[in-house]
């Protein structure tokens, strides 16, 4: 009987599946499992990370397994492997947790990993793994990479990144700044529109341009919902004292200034809203045209 691939052990139940993704002792040279793993699922996530659970729930959290590793010098690394409801949810949560300045590690087309000062995030399939060291020395950072590679190798599931990412202008968008949203809380953590729910986010992406401007593309279903969200946002911002210099540029386009004096431009196109923050209107409209071209080509 052929041995089951680690990720095929889902037939034995989700708990067995999660455990099979953990590196064993000394699989990563010098690092051994310290005590047994802990697992949380559904609402129990609040017991593990308190108020930090909401963003995971917004994306679609299923379960997490947590395992500590130690080396002979007493240094430790905590590995958390999150199973999300689908690959888009896992990618979204990965994009949320990514650092703005980390190093992207190329581990294959259907996977992505980023190494920051003392932690590593990894996305593959419907899994997100976060490995946290407790110092920034080279031994710990190498341990993060070694353990991360093992976990990536144990995840057999493959999936492409969310298709909406393809609408971001390329080149012109910094990879480290890319975010994928599945709700208002994700968007709120990038840019706090007032009120946070003004755009009723269902699905969206964000990219940063080289000059520090942000471009958001939000998609709605059914397609008519984009018009009602646009009109609600228009009415809300036109009378919101936190935003100044509100200008109606056309039936499907308006702009305003936020509290830091940045221009915010909002445009409606089919089932989509485009939002540019920190770009002057000509640059914003130029970006919008690029996105419209991509939508037409889809």
């Amino acid at each position: 009987m052929p041995a089951l691939h680690p990720a095929d052990k889902s037939a034995a139940g989700p708990q067995a599946e999660m455990k099979s993704l953990l590196p064993g002792t000394d699989q990563a040279p010098g690092w051994s499992a310290d005590d047994g793993p802990q697992e949380y699922s559904g609402e129990d996530l609040y017991a593990y990370i308190d108020g930090g659970a909401e963003i995971y729930q917004e994306y679609g959290f299923l379960r997490v397994i947590v395992q500590d590793y130690k080396n002979q010098s007493g240094q430790s690394i905590t590995a958390e492997i999150f199973a999300m409801k689908d690959p888009e949810a896992a990618y979204g949560m990965y994009s949320f947790k990514k650092s703005a300045s980390g190093q992207v590690l190329e581990w294959g087309q259907e996977s992505e990993a980023q190494l920051s000062d003392y932690y590593l995030n990894l996305w593959k399939g419907r899994y997100l793994a976060t490995l946290t060291g407790f110092n920034e020395d080279q031994t710990t950072r190498q341990g993060l990479v070694d353990l991360g590679r093992i976990i990536a190798g144990k995840i057999s599931e493959k999936a492409a990144k969310p298709s909406l990412l393809a609408l971001l202008p390329d080149p012109g968008v910094k990879k480290s700044g890319i975010k994928y949203y599945k709700g208002n809380l994700g968007l709120f953590n990038t840019y706090a529109f007032d009120p946070a729910s003004v755009f009723g986010v269902q699905e969206g992406v964000k990219g940063d341009d080289e000059k520090g401007g942000m471009l958001f593309v939000l998609k709605y279903s059914p397609s008519g919902k984009s018009r009602s969200q646009f009109e609600d946002a228009w009415k809300t911002f036109a009378k919101n004292v936190k935003y100044g210099q509100f200008r109606a540029l056309s039936n499907d386009l308006f702009s305003m200034k936020d509290g830091l004096g940045r221009t915010v431009t909002v445009s409606l196109f089919k089932a989509y809203l485009f939002i540019a923050v920190g770009m002057e209107s000509p640059a914003a409209e130029s970006s919008f045209r690029l996105v419209k071209t991509k939508i037409r080509q889809w």
């Binding site: 930090g52 650092s99 709700g183 809380l185 709120f188 706090a192 729910s197």
Partner: protein, 315 residues
């Protein structure tokens, strides 16, 4: 029955002061009466001390407010509330800050210094806080989440909450010193003095701060923040000392996240003022943080830094 954790000798030593008779009066009255707050006059509203020695920063911040004797009467029982929510870097109150505060309370003549928490002992050990607490003579008083350890406290002016569930043990103490770390929070962007009060409220009660249908409820973030303000209407620390030395500005409250290192310890009596100052350390504005704005509007404190005396010192 409260559970006293004393597995090791150095923790056992810190408990030798023992339990005192509970003071008379309604539960938490001494922490909710504005008269107590009004009695503590301070020369500045916010003291922010920066430097590489976090213990010295903490001492200097309290000195700038007039010294610990201004807040801790001789013979009093002092409750401390540090944050040990997570052991990830930049998410918990630094050991040096805690050590300095315990030391100052002892030197001011405190009869007892009690660290109150419903987090398990492992959290305290993982964060490196149990040892300095014991070495400086504080008692680490840990409680499990059984309902009998908490007391129902009405919130008469609550906009969202009618009651909260506060650790019984708090009422045995005469002074409450709030020791949060300021940091990002994915739920509402910011956490500081006011949010740290959730550490005295039971977990089931804290859970009600998050709406059940929050993913579709347009007011979910404001609901959470208003609950925090309501909680703060019945819990008013004598003094707030905030670890703003090194903290996460993403993926809060548990991390891991990007670390910001202003190396500051910030102290003040007015929680709203302290939070309004702390949020600026990573580019936020108090008027954009619902919790701070609401607390200001409800008279819990003042958020306009232009109208406050802020003293910044570099050591």
């Amino acid at each position: 029955m409260n559970k006293m954790i004393n597995r090791r000798d150095f923790i056992r030593k810190s408990l030798k002061a023992g339990l005192s008779v509970a003071a008379a009066g309604p539960v938490l009255a001494r922490f909710s009466q504005t008269s107590l707050l009004a009695q503590v006059k301070v020369p500045v509203d916010v003291a922010a001390v920066s430097g590489s020695d976090y213990l010295k920063n903490t001492i200097k911040a309290v000195e700038t407010l007039g010294g610990m004797k201004r807040f801790v009467p001789k013979g009093s029982r002092v409750a401390l509330l540090p944050n040990v929510q997570s052991r990830n870097p930049g998410t918990f109150t630094k050991p040096e800050v805690l050590r300095a505060v315990v030391r100052m309370c002892r030197e001011a003549g405190a009869k007892e210094v009690n660290i109150l928490s419903w987090q398990p002992l492992k959290s305290w050990e993982d964060c490196g806080l149990s040892r300095p607490a014991a070495e400086e003579g504080a008692a680490l008083k840990l409680f499990d989440l059984k309902e009998e350890n908490f007391k129902k406290v009405p919130v008469p002016d609550g906009k969202n909450l009618r009651e909260v569930m506060i650790l019984n043990e708090l009422d045995r103490n005469d002074v409450l010193i709030n020791l949060p770390i300021t940091k990002d929070h994915a739920g509402n962007k910011f956490t500081g003095t006011m949010k740290n009060m959730m550490g005295l409220n039971s977990r089931p009660s804290n859970r009600t701060f998050h709406k059940e249908n929050w993913t579709t409820d347009t007011n979910a973030i404001e609901f959470l923040d208003q609950c925090i303000v309501d909680l703060n209407m019945v819990l008013k620390p004598t003094l707030n000392i905030v670890d703003a030395t090194e903290f996460i500005i993403s993926n809060g409250p548990m991390g891991p996240g990007d670390l910001h290192k202003p190396q500051k310890v910030v102290a003040g009596v007015d929680r709203v003022a302290v939070d309004a100052y702390c949020c600026t350390l990573w580019g936020l504005k108090a008027e954009n943080i619902f919790m701070i704005k609401q607390a200001d509007g409800q008279g819990l404190g003042r958020m306009s830094l232009a109208a406050l005396k802020v003293q910044e010192i570099k050591i």
